[in-house]
Amino acid sequence: MPPADTATLDYRRIAVFGGVYSNYLALAAALEDARRRGAEECFCLGDMGAFGPHPDRVFGLLRDCGVRCIQGNYDNSIARGLDDCQCGYTDPRDNYFARLSYQYTFAHTHPDNRAWLGTLPTELRLLLGKYRLLLCHGSPRQMNEFLWESTSSSAFLDYLMRAYDTDVILATHTGIKWRRDLEGGKHFINVGVLGRPENDGRTNVWYALLTLARSASEGLEVEFIPVAYDHEQLAAQMRAERLPDEFVATVLTGWWTTCLEVLPYKERCRGRF
């Protein structure tokens, strides 16, 4: 029996987005792409602001398209008027950039949108076919927990499935997509983010598409979808807003230049910096 607040979806296909980080151009492209692929509903796992320009441009898109959203740590900070993003960097350089983008985002988020962020739930539970889905931001137990592929043992993911009584956990927060298929037909999926490329030298971003297979088994198909968008326009707008060149470089090159401290060894190795 799923928990009482579980909503049943009569769908076969849904799209799940990770952090938007004010990248409204990528969000628009992803919404369009998901519609074209026949996604019946779109979800967003939070962190609407940060990093990019004009944070307010994200909210209209989310609401007009009826995207069902949950709250990320950034949203939580902005809504409560905290003085940082709760990413907890200790490297002074990471901290410096995190602060800059937080202050910019806070100052440019309309009070109505701040209030709206405060109303978002911190998790959603849904039923897709026979699969119980749990949508959260960092992890089911902590909004700002980083679950990286290379630092999450399968034993731990199995434990999360047991402890939270679910079959599929969908999360974001780290900025890099990954998935692991676990015993008993369970899945952990980090859907990646729309906000910035994932430190692989490519400029596209990613989201996840979940489809119930048409076969009798009704298995779950999980696909990561690359989204190309006008990243040069985004970069130009970031420059016009005087956002740091380091952020602009990430948009244009696909390599992360900041917030590197929290990357574990494997993920760090794959990047350039």
Partner: protein, 293 residues
Amino acid sequence: MQLPSIPLAHLDDLWFQVSGTVCNLACTHCFISCSPHNHSFGFLDFETVRTALEESVALGVKEYYFTGGEPFLHPRMTEILELTLRYGPATVLTNGTVFKDQWLQRLRVAADASNYSLEFRVSMDGYTPEANDALRGHGTFERILRGVGQLLHHGFLPILTVTPANDEDDPQLFERFVRLLRENGYERPRIKILPTLRIGAEAKRGRGYDEHERVTVEMMEGYDQARLVCNHSRVVTDRGIYVCPILLEAPDARLGDTLKEALAPFALAHQACHTCYQYGALCANASSRHRDA
């Protein structure tokens, strides 16, 4: 006086006191007074490690940490890490002075074959030979840099772990270590700065704790327990399971013979707990720091 009691929320991090208190160095600030002659804790048997790894699966452990003493004095350390990487991510806390290239070569292969990260945390406690060697011993500054170079050569990205017992108040400290590592060929330095634990050898070298430096029940109100290592870790030693890698010398820190027996809450009776309380997130890597939500 009533003591704050910290439950184990979940066993995220399983530590192994793999080389006991045996170390090739005898740092003057070592909080468990390790040295070549301190055998209060000995090497862990390979089988003890294997059994704990097996037991840890059902408990849902997320990551494994190896410490000592100097882990690479253990004759089967390479093998232990190879085995661990089949279960999950492994981090080894080392002084960086005893690596053999042959071991690192094998670990390179094991790290590539695993889905999980193998992290090396290398201790260095001053950014000049004078500052470091005063704590870690004559000539260690150069030897540590050589160890870092060996790790880089084999494609690892060591995290320099700094306990600046003598320069705690230097606001430029982080930048100074960045510069030092860059000058030594480490293009993307990773650094973790730790507070000094005023116990063990350090209590004799520096100042010990003041009487008022204790954690009280009132202090825990509104405090995020996840910041304390004992809220999500236990340590396997050759003398049983301990609450955290810090309090090995305290008799009440031994919680049982097996992991299952060692999952009970722990009362913060010790002054070192005050340092954990103040700084939080003492032992985990930045990629998995436990922090306030």
